[in-house]
């Protein structure tokens, strides 16, 4: 089967409500990128509505950073189209740059400048006037929340301070579209929540469209209205987090039992059970329909002499969905362009 057909057959997308009526801030069609023989993106199709926070999930090497670099005009695709606010990023790169902001995976700062100097320089590069720069530096100083340290040279900053300054530099010109490449990687929980709050505020108050890549499922669930899961350079699932959980995960039944030495494979044949494993001393069943499966599971446990202390029914976490999907869709090994990703 040709690569494109295989990719299309694998891709499972939850339709977005009122898709016809939304204005697209970001759109890619058949976006493909090769590094030599290695395919980083494989015909990626993506649509992100204006004013949306979109979380892009994927394992290392899935193509997330490559996508961000193409969309932010830092790199050209091998083939396919990428558009920001209706403008082709390659043909209209200068206009596109006025609309976007980018915070990269590692804070991209000039460590010899002070925080203020860096922000002032950014403001000048984006054509802001002196008074506008002063106003924005004052506003962003509160976001950066590093007090008088903004006047210190950046090499004295902690990692968290650098990441927050990097975010401030990315938004000094109030971009319409903001790309955040793993914005909280390496941050402590307090710093991470502060960045989360700012991302939500930028979206809710300023209407900024935000595409963020992350490896933290919790982050995507907290911030994003839409989530895409990318693997091997192709989109394998997309939709609101809750629907992804429901659609791809089925239900989860957790039975607290004494499972030491018990061969759990004997429970895998119970009707409606997709898989079973031991997690933290409990049996975790992935089932098609939780309500229907509860009875057979309880009976099967009793028959095996494993009376359950408690049986609970819940939806799968996004992490469970992610693992399930990415395990089913292994990344394409390097140097095999015809494998269909």
């Amino acid at each position: 089967m040709p690569a494109t057909h295989r990719a299309a057959a694998r891709r499972l997308v939850i339709p977005r409500y009122l898709r016809q009526s939304v204005t697209l801030a970001i759109e890619t069609r058949g976006l493909t990128k090769y590094y030599g023989d290695v395919r980083a993106l494989d015909g990626l199709d993506l649509e992100i509505a204006s004013g949306e926070v979109y979380g892009l999930l994927g394992p290392n090497g899935a193509g997330k950073t490559t996508l961000i670099r193409i969309l932010s005009t830092l790199m050209h695709p091998t083939s396919g189209e990428a558009m920001l606010d209706g403008l082709d990023v390659r043909e209209h790169s200068e206009k596109v740059r006025l609309k976007l902001g980018l915070a990269m995976q590692e804070a991209a700062l000039d460590l010899n400048q002070t925080g203020v100097e860096l922000l002032q320089l950014q403001g000048r590069l984006y054509g802001l006037r002196k008074r506008e720069i002063e106003q924005r530096v004052e506003e962003l100083a509160r976001l950066v929340d590093i007090g008088d340290s903004l006047g210190r040279r950046i090499f004295t900053y902690s990692l968290g301070m650098r990441r927050r300054l990097d975010l401030a530099a990315a938004i000094i010109h109030n971009p319409q579209i903001l790309f955040l490449d793993e914005p909280t990687t390496g941050l402590d929980p307090a710093s991470r929540h502060r960045v989360w709050d700012e991302i939500l505020r930028l979206n809710q108050v300023n209407g900024m469209t935000i595409l963020l890549t992350t490896q933290y499922l919790e982050e995507a669930e907290h911030l994003a209205g839409q989530v895409g899961i990318i693997n091997g350079g192709t989109m394998i699932a997309e939709g609101p987090p809750a629907e992804l959980r429901r659609y791809f995960g089925g239900d989860v039944v957790v039975a607290k039992v004494d499972v030491d030495q018990f061969p759990v494979s004997r429970l895998g044949t119970v009707e409606g059970v997709q898989s079973v494993e031991v997690v933290d001393g409990s049996l975790v069943f992935l089932v098609d329909d939780g309500l229907r499966a509860l009875g057979p599971i309880t009976v099967a446990l009793a028959e095996q002499g494993l009376p359950a202390e408690a049986v609970t029914l819940r939806q799968p976490t996004l992490e469970e969905v992610f693992l399930r999907l990415t395990e089913k869709q292994p990344s394409q090994p390097p140097g095999e362009p015809g494998n269909g990703g």
Partner: protein, 268 residues
């Protein structure tokens, strides 16, 4: 609140223009110079050392061979070339490339050409500034400009121009490799320029092969132009040839740097 701005006054990006971009990038580079004072020490010490050593070692010999020659004035342009050659923000560019800050600059709507020329403008300013201590030492040693203050200004201008003509090679290496060792090695390019020429003696005193090789070296004509300003008085023909030699080297190095910049900004 961040990003709101005053009511009815939304702050957003707008196109800037080449001149403003050039000034912005230059200003950033110039402001960085005092923060890297340690890098200026060799640029000041080495030319002073060369002038002192060459004059001390060769002045008597040269005086016997060329009794009319003011050897201190003859050596001053060589010392100045050592001061201005290799003055470059290429190492800082490598740091930007490796640290991701160059990406931040290129994501902005800044003019691509200004990313390079802004650095070179700062180099020119620094290179011309570095001629001052060498000229001051020359003055202390009794060197006088036959063309006066105006000639000294032309001397400094041409020397600074050579500085940025040579630095184009270093930017080409920096943009192509993003490797600090490669940039440092790039200074070795100066050795054939500096020594296969009339650095120590007039061309008449060189062996045949050395004189022939020096004839192909643009620095020979650059030194001739600079020396004419110090020793002989106004000689438009020699100055024009020296200037043309510098511009020729500059055209080659700048073309290489621009090709490297294009390769960096437009990766296939």
């Amino acid at each position: 609140m961040a990003g709101d701005g005053a009511p009815g006054l939304r702050i957003e990006a707008r196109e800037t223009g080449f001149t403003r971009d050039l000034m912005t990038i230059s200003w950033r580079s110039i402001r960085a110079i005092p923060k890297e004072r340690q890098s200026l020490i060799p640029a000041i010490v080495i030319p002073v050392f060369w002038l002192a050593v060459n004059v001390g070692a060769l002045e008597e010999v040269a005086g016997r061979l060329f009794p009319e020659l003011d050897y201190r004035g003859f050596q001053l342009p060589v010392a100045v070339l050592f001061a201005v050659t290799g003055v470059s923000r290429a190492s800082a560019l490598v740091t930007d490339l490796r640290g991701g800050y160059f990406d931040r600059l290129t994501v902005s709507p800044v003019s691509r050409l200004s990313l390079l020329l802004g650095l070179m403008a700062a180099d020119w300013l620094l290179a011309t500034s570095l001629t001052i201590p060498v000229l001051a030492l020359g003055w202390l040693l009794g060197v006088e400009f036959a063309t006066g203050l105006a000639g000294m200004a032309v001397f400094v201008f041409i020397a600074g121009l050579w500085g940025i003509a040579f630095t184009g090679f270093l930017y080409a290496i920096a943009l192509r490799t993003a490797n600090p060792s490669a940039v440092a090695s790039g200074l070795l390019l100066f050795f054939p320029f500096a020594f296969v020429t009339t650095s120590f003696m007039p061309r008449d005193a060189l062996t045949d092969w050395m004189s022939t090789a020096a004839g192909f070296n643009p620095v020979t004509y650059l030194l001739a132009a600079l020396r004419s300003l110090v020793l002989d008085g106004w000689d438009p023909n020699t100055i024009a040839i020296g200037l043309a030699a510098v511009l020729g080297v500059g055209a080659i190095s700048l073309s290489l740097a621009l090709m490297a910049l294009r390769g960096r900004l437009d990766p296939a």
